[in-house]
């Protein structure tokens, strides 16, 4: 069976896997963004707290994804939970790091002006600091998403959802007729998804970054 014949006969399964892969990455990215920005907001004002946040999220990234998922299985079981936890943790670092850099990079004169015209701390954060730090944060989200695309494939190891299942099935049946097709379709699917997500981020950037600060 040629690759395209394989895709033709298995397209229903492939589409489901692709959808689940995208959905897992997307949801974990939303979680990682919320959590990451929150951590950054709590820590960026203090030198040591900010550095601690960056260092600890960076440490997570050094754990091989397969090992982390393997460690999570005895604690949270198989399936979706270890996938979500692992992906969210891996997605944190770029977001936290870029958010801290972005928030710290806001011109002190603008912070002075925001305080000076009577903005509360919350108003200053949401109306001035976060919007100005948003471009680097978005870049962080983009980088994290690319990374999660690949890591999500490993989730199949813990019976997680997504295109990783194709790849793992192919590897498991190495030598059989369709094994190469399986690995190839899973890999290509991930690459296409990554491109689509990237395009989406460009669009999101256009829509959410003020024209006044767009490069």
């Amino acid at each position: 069976m040629s690759f395209w014949e394989y895709v033709g006969t298995r397209h229903a399964q492939l589409l489901t896997d692709t959808y689940q892969h995208a959905s897992a990455v997307f949801q974990c990215m939303v979680l990682a963004t919320l959590l990451g920005v929150f951590i950054a907001v709590m820590t960026y004002r203090s030198e040591w707290a900010g550095n601690l946040a960056t260092t600890s999220t960076a440490t997570i990234l050094t754990i091989p994804s397969l090992a982390l998922i393997g460690l999570l299985i005895p604690i949270v079981g198989l399936g979706v939970p270890p996938t979500v936890i692992a992906l969210t943790l891996y997605g944190l670092l770029p977001v936290v790091r870029n958010a801290i850099v972005g928030l710290r990079g806001v011109d002190p004169d603008l912070v002075d002006a925001a305080n000076g015209i009577g903005m509360s701390r919350a108003a200053r954060l949401f109306r001035v600091e976060l919007p100005l730090a948003w471009p680097p944060i978005l870049t962080g989200i983009r980088v994290a998403t690319q990374m999660l695309m690949g890591i999500a494939a490993i989730a199949a190891f813990a019976s997680g959802p997504g295109l990783g299942n194709e790849i793992f099935r192919g590897i498991a049946s190495l030598g059989s007729a369709n094994s190469l097709n399986q690995v190839l379709s899973g890999t290509l699917g991930i690459a296409v998804l990554a491109l689509l997500f990237d395009a989406a981020y460009v669009l999101i950037g256009r829509l959410t970054i003020s024209r006044g600060i767009r490069a």
Partner: protein, 424 residues
Amino acid sequence: MPETPETTSTSGASIRLENLTKLYPGNQAPAVDNVNMEIKAGETVILVGPSGCGKSTTLKMINRLIEPSSGRIRIGDEDVTDMDPVKLRRTIGYAIQASGLFPHMTVAQNIALVPKMLGWRATRVKNRVEEMLDLVGLDPAEFHGRYPRQLSGGQQQRVGVARALAADPPVLLMDEPFGAVDPITRDHLQDELIRLQHELHKTICFVTHDFDEAIKIGDRIAVLRERSHIAQFDTPEAILTNPSDDFVSGFVGAGAALKRLNLTRVRDVAVVDFPTASIDDPLESIFERLRSGPHNELLLLDHNRRPYKWLRRGDLARAKGSLARAGTLVADTVTRDATLRDALEAVLTDNAGRVAVTGRRGEYLGMVDMETLMNNVQELLEADRLEAIEQQHRLHEQRARQTQLAQEGLDDASGTEGGRGSRA
């Protein structure tokens, strides 16, 4: 545009600083040491002094951007030292160097910030934004949707002032607001501020280290030395003619006589009339007036009555039925708020030795020439001289009285007389 009742503006409130001190944590000596100062309602007071002397720190304690280590701040009748700082700052305009505009918001959004925080209705905010843009001389239609980076430095600074004034605060704090623009723009912005203050009567506290700027816009100037100690706090005239010590005279710098010209404005001297014609007038009548009238020169005004061209009798030959090629374009004008020094500058550079005076929207009001200036400056210097003599006289009398009292053994401190020129 419909008249809105909101346009009535709040005029200034007095500011009192009592034993105000700021010691930054970790510093040996206080940055501001026991400052006492009273700024009257509606007055423009300039804090001027060398870099690092504590001007900004003093200013920022007024809106509590920096919390004082000790001392009290009173605005109007209210002690604001312990008031909620966020609430306090919404009632105090604040403009800083480099405008401090938020780059991700449009001009209109920037100006609308404080009124919105104060909970104004949307329509009122919208009207106010247009009104403020108009006030600072920017066309609302053109500018309100622009982002700060689409403005020149001077325009940004104007928007910064508009934002500071948007909620109509009685008090306006400005920290070197014109420090980052080129000298010509700075000059214009200073003129604009003076014009605004004429209309609004806010209480303005303005920091600069440019003494000429201080003279130009201040009702009173506080010359500060290190730790914000007040070396002299007096009118520009008094500081120029009577610097209290070497530190102050060092700050005043050379050319005090020329600087005196900075203290009088074109509005304070008589402008002379000059024959004008409008570009809308029929050509024939313009030619006729030039040919047979008593004057051999006319000032041609454009549709908005702004000075456009000088038209001489001799230009008629070249006109050939059209004004397009005739006459010389008006190169320079001064506003009513320009100082006599600006006017002198313009008159000296004009080859016919005169300059047109314009109003708020650039419309023609009259003319200043060398003769007007000469007469006025001579009167000015004469008045100064008389004032100085009188002052000397008063001092003499006072001293004589003291000597007499001393001789009679009755000397106590009661003989000293307070007053503007008196110093410790």
